[in-house]
Symmetry: C2
Subunit: 371 residues, 2 copies
C-alpha cells in the first residue's frame, strides 16, 4: 500500500445552508476528514465506504510516512490484493461528525464564539454522521456504493447508511454489531460518560484551555476494555498473574490485568477528546434501526448483506446479529451470516483479519459477478 494522505472536505459554511441535524438543530461549517485508497473506475461503481469504530478515525489503511510504526486500523483488510482490494475498489473512510480526528466535533472552533464548541456542540446521531458522509461521497463523484462496511460502531453506521440510502447501496457488511443498542450497552456507555462528566476537570466541557478530564476518560476506557475482551481470554492472557512474586498489600497496580487496564485507559487521553467520547457514545445509545426502521421506502431489495459476529463477543453478542439476519431473510434480502469462532471477544473484529478477509473477499467477488 502506497503512502496515504488525510484530506478534508468542508461544507455548510454559508449561514443559510447549515447542516440540519436529527435533533432539529443545525451546524456549519462542517469539515469531514477522510482518506481514499485505490481509484474510482469510469463507471463509478467500484466504491466501498468503510466506517470506523468509537475511538478510531479515517486512517483505515496504509501509512502517512514511510517511518510510521503503525498502519491504519484495518490495514490487514485494505490494500492491493487484500479483501478490500485497492487494485479493484475505490475505498473511502472518513472520521465521523462529532469525532476529534479532523472532522468537526466538540473540540472544533465554534465560529459564533471563536472558542471550542465544548457542550455547545449539538447532540448528534448516527443518522447525522451518515448524512455528512453522503455529502462526502457526492463530492467524490460516487454514484453508487458497491459496499458499506465496518465493525462495532462502524457496523451500526453501515446499517444506518443502508436505512437512509438503500437505493445507492449494493451491499452492507456489519461486523460485531447490532441494529439497536441494548440497555446493557447503554449502561456501560453511561458509566463512561458519568466518569468523564463527574471529573472536576471536565468543567461542563470547557476544559480546552486547562487540564483535561483525563481520569474520567481513562475510567471510561477501562470499563470499555473489560467489555471488549472475553473473560476466558482474559483468564488465559492474565489469569491471576501479579507484577511481583508476592502480594504487595498495597493499592498500587499489582495484578497484570490491573496494569493492562490502567495503561490502556491512560493512553487514550493522548489521542482522544473526552467530549467527543460523550457525543459519540450518546449517538450510539440513540441508535435503533431495528425492524421496519431498517427498511426505507426507497428500498428496492437489491442490496446484499454479509453479517459477521464472533462467538466470544459478549458486548455485541451473536444473537443480536442473528436478529438482523432473521429479519433480512424474512424480507427476501440476499443475506450471508457467519459467526466466527474466536477467543478475542468484541476486539476480534480488529484481530481476526484472515478469517474476515476470506469471507469479505468471497462476498465482494460474488457481487462483482452479479453486476
Amino acid at each position: 500500500m502506497e503512502i496515504v494522505k488525510k484530506k478534508y472536505l468542508s461544507f455548510a459554511g454559508d449561514p443559510e445552508e447549515r447542516m440540519h441535524l436529527e435533533s432539529g438543530q443545525a451546524i456549519g461549517p462542517v469539515t469531514i476528514a477522510y482518506e481514499v485508497y485505490g481509484k474510482l473506475n469510469h463507471r463509478k461503481d467500484n466504491s466501498i465506504l468503510i466506517f470506523h469504530s468509537l475511538t478510531m478515525d479515517s486512517h483505515a489503511a496504509g501509512s502517512y510516512q514511510k517511518t510510521d510504526k503503525e498502519k491504519g486500523w484495518w490495514d490487514g483488510l485494505i490494500g492491493p490484493g487484500k479483501a478490500f482490494d485497492t487494485n479493484r475498489y475505490f475505498i473511502i473512510c472518513s472520521n465521523v461528525l462529532g469525532g476529534c480526528k479532523g472532522s468537526t466535533g466538540p473540540s472544533s472552533i465554534d465560529p459564533s464564539t471563536g472558542k471550542p464548541y465544548g457542550m455547545n456542540f449539538p447532540v448528534i446521531t448516527l443518522q447525522d454522521m451518515v448524512k455528512a458522509q453522503k455529502i462526502l461521497i457526492d463530492f467524490l463523484g460516487v454514484k453508487e456504493l458497491l459496499s458499506v462496511a465496518g465493525g462495532s460502531m462502524g457496523g451500526m453506521l453501515a446499517l444506518q447508511w443502508f436505512s437512509n440510502y438503500p437505493e445507492i447501496t449494493r451491499s452492507v457488511i456489519p461486523i460485531a454489531s447490532t441494529w439497536k443498542q441494548s440497555p446493557q450497552q447503554i449502561a456501560f456507555s453511561e458509566v463512561g460518560r458519568q466518569a468523564i462528566m463527574r471529573d472536576v476537570y471536565w468543567n461542563k466541557g470547557n476544559y480546552y484551555e486547562g487540564p483535561h478530564p483525563k481520569n474520567g476518560l481513562s475510567i471510561a476506557r477501562m470499563v470499555g476494555h473489560i467489555t471488549y475482551m472475553n473473560e476466558k481470554f482474559m483468564e488465559k492472557k492474565f489469569s491471576r498473574k501479579t507484577r511481583h512474586r508476592e502480594f504487595c498489600f498495597s493499592f498500587d497496580t499489582e495484578f497484570e490485568i490491573e496494569q493492562y487496564l490502567n495503561h490502556n485507559g491512560d493512553s487514550l487521553i493522548n489521542r482522544f477528546d473526552p467530549n467527543s467520547y460523550l457525543y459519540l457514545s450518546k449517538a450510539l445509545n440513540y441508535f435503533d434501526v431495528s425492524g421496519e426502521k431498517l427498511i426505507s421506502s426507497n428500498n428496492k431489495k437489491q442490496t446484499s448483506f454479509l453479517v459477521i459476529s464472533f462467538d466470544s463477543d459478549w458486548l455485541y453478542p451473536s444473537w443480536q446479529s442473528g436478529e438482523i439476519v432473521k429479519f433480512l431473510i424474512a424480507r427476501g434480502f440476499s443475506t450471508t451470516y457467519y459467526e466466527i469462532s474466536s477467543p478475542y471477544g468484541h476486539d476480534a473484529f480488529l484481530i481476526e483479519l484472515k478469517k474476515e478477509a476470506k469471507l469479505i473477499k468471497k462476498f465482494l467477488e460474488k457481487l462483482d459477478n452479479t453486476k
Copy 2:
C-alpha cells in the same frame, strides 16, 4: 422476628496483643459489630455464622425498631420457622474487618494519631476477616458451627472460614460465589477503585474532614450494578425506555437504565465509606482458596457442602461453583450442588429467597438428623 440489636466486641486493645494480619502488619484495638438471632443451646452446637456481601453489614435479619421500614438484608431466610430457623439455631452475623458499619476499618480512629486511619489502615484479606470472626465466636462461647453461609463475598468468606477452621465447621453454604477471583472480577474491582482514587476529593484517603469522593464511589457502584444484573433481565426491566416521549438530545439521564444506575450509584455514598470500598474490594481480589488451598491439615472430611449458583449470574458464573463442587466430590466431601434458574443475575442471592430457603432448610435438617 423480635427487635434486634447491634452489639460490639472489642479486642487486641493491649499494644502487646495486637491482631496479626496476613500482610505481616498488626492492628489494635479491633472492634467487631455483630448481631445474634435465636439462642445458643446447651450443647453449644446449634450456631450458624452468616457472612455478608461487599456493601452489606451485620444487620442480616429483623428490625432495630418497630418503625423501621426495611428489615435485615437476608430477613427472608432468617427468623422463626424460616430456613435459618431462629427457634432452632443460634445465628451470628458480623460486619467484616475493614468495613464501615461498626467494625474497625479505614474510617475508624487510628489510636496512634487520633484521626481516621484512611490509607494508614493495613491492607486486609478474607483470612484476616474470618480471623476476627473466630475471635467473636470464641467470645460467644460457640465451640462448633453447624454451618457457615453467605452469598457473593459472603460465600467466599464461608469458603475461607472452612479453609482456616475446618475442624469446627460442620457445613458450608457458599452461594453465587467462587473459590478464587478471576481476572474479570479483578478488572471490575480495579475500575471501581480507580474511580475512587482518581476522584480529586479522595485526597489519598484523607477526606473525612472535607467533601468525600462521592462521584468516584458512585461510578464504582454503577459499574457494580451492571455486573449484578443479567442482560436479558435488564432488557425486560428497562429495554430502551426513556423518561420522556421523545429523545432529549442532551446529556441528562434519559434512558431509564441511566436513571437506575445514577440513582443507585449516588445513594451508596449515604451508607458506605469509599475507603472501605477500596479495602474490601482489594481483599476480594486477593481471595484464592482454590484446589489444595481449600483443604487445611486439620481437615477431617466431616464437613458437608451445599453449593448454590444462579444460571443468569455472569459475574460469578455457575462454572465457578462447578469447579468447587467437582473438587469437593473428588475429595470425598458430602456435597450438594444446585444451579437455581433465575432471571436476576448475581443479585439473585438477595432475591430468590424462596428457592434458596427450600434448599437450605432441607440441607440443615439432614445435618441435624446425622448428628
